[in-house]
Amino acid sequence: MKSNGRIWFPAGVLVSLGLGWFGFPAMLYRAEPQPVAFSHKAHTGQKGGMKCEDCHALREDGSFSGIPGIEKCAGCHASAIGSTAAEKRLVDEYVSQNREIPWLVYARQPENVWFSHAAHIKLGKLTCEQCHGEHGKTDTLRPYEEDRISGYSRDVRGNPGGKKMKTCEDCHGRCGVGQQGCLDCHK
């Protein structure tokens, strides 16, 4: 008993480390698949030939349209293109019923954030890829992951590479815009 008395403390440390670094993150995030299998690649590639702005556009007043509504999808997918199950589901469950697809937006900012695409595109001259990466070339949509406690998307505040407030600040600092007034970006 005396001899193995020493292992208990390190054992506790090890168990904690394991649970903390591996078990906890797995538990913290709830993954939810996107409602429809969507391939950006199929739309933007050779076959589709579309540009980002064709679907995600700035409106006249500068506001960002976000993900297009079902009528945009219906423009091409009024009837199934191809015979995949996903395509059939899109047509049957959404297009033909004229129901909006409940997309889960990875970059959806929390309620208190004000983000203007117009300012970044028109004034900042940023391209889509500078922030969103090669999202337009992906073939599948990964599941949306939500922090169970905070309700944030993992992309917004969770992943090591996620866009935190720091990301915004750094860029603004580099570019010399928005001299750190909180309400520049918060509402």
Binding site: K164, M165, K166, E169, Q180
Partner: protein, 271 residues
Amino acid sequence: MFPGIDGFEWTPGHLIFLGIFYTVVAVVFLTLALAAVRAWRSYRANRAEAIRWQADFHDLPARDRACRHALTGEMRERVCELGFDCRRCETHARLLEERPPAQAPAADTEAGGVRLPLDRLYHRGHTWVRPEKDGTVTVGLDELASRLMGTPDRVRLPKAGRRISVNGTGWRMWKHGSDVRVLSPVDGEVAATGGPEAGWYLKVKPAEGRLDARHLLRPDEAAPWMRRELERVQWTLGHSLADGGVMVQNLSEAVPAEAWDAVCAGVFLQV
């Protein structure tokens, strides 16, 4: 607070403020770490017993720490600062040199009804040490302590071969639901154990082969000390234990339950 956090700016205010803050935090945790490291070292060096005595001794009321020479009247009101370890005491050495101990009295002395046999030396923790012919020493409780403990409910004696040191724990006894650590009067290795029934508790092989007895009370010194001890016990109790000038026999029963701990603490020098 940390450079790199949202909204952080280096300003003189930050530098001063955070500088002070981190200094404070660092000092606090370094101090804590220092204490922890030292504690670890002491623990590893088996200094726990020594430390315990040191701490206990300093927590004793000044009155309980009276120098042996003050008890005998050789000096006035002297308080021991060395944990009753006269071996290290310069004053003791000096006094010993100045006034070598007189010839031992012829017969066993007695103080307040407590017998103090001549063949042994006494420790301030109410143990005696009797050198044996085989070079070992026998350690037992003196009469006051024996009567106080009566027949202990439980005794835990060290195993043979275990090292004990002066003022460290000699053995432990339980009585009336509370425990008593009996201070070891000698440095050495436990050779054999006895018990209350044998009238002695430990047989110890003294360290370095011989008994250094400078810190132990000679029987002639023991008498005033014992009278003083009886007095202390009585103060603690708030009433007399004397029965016609002689201490009651069944002391262990005469002590009321609520005073038991206090009396044991007083007798066995612990907190």
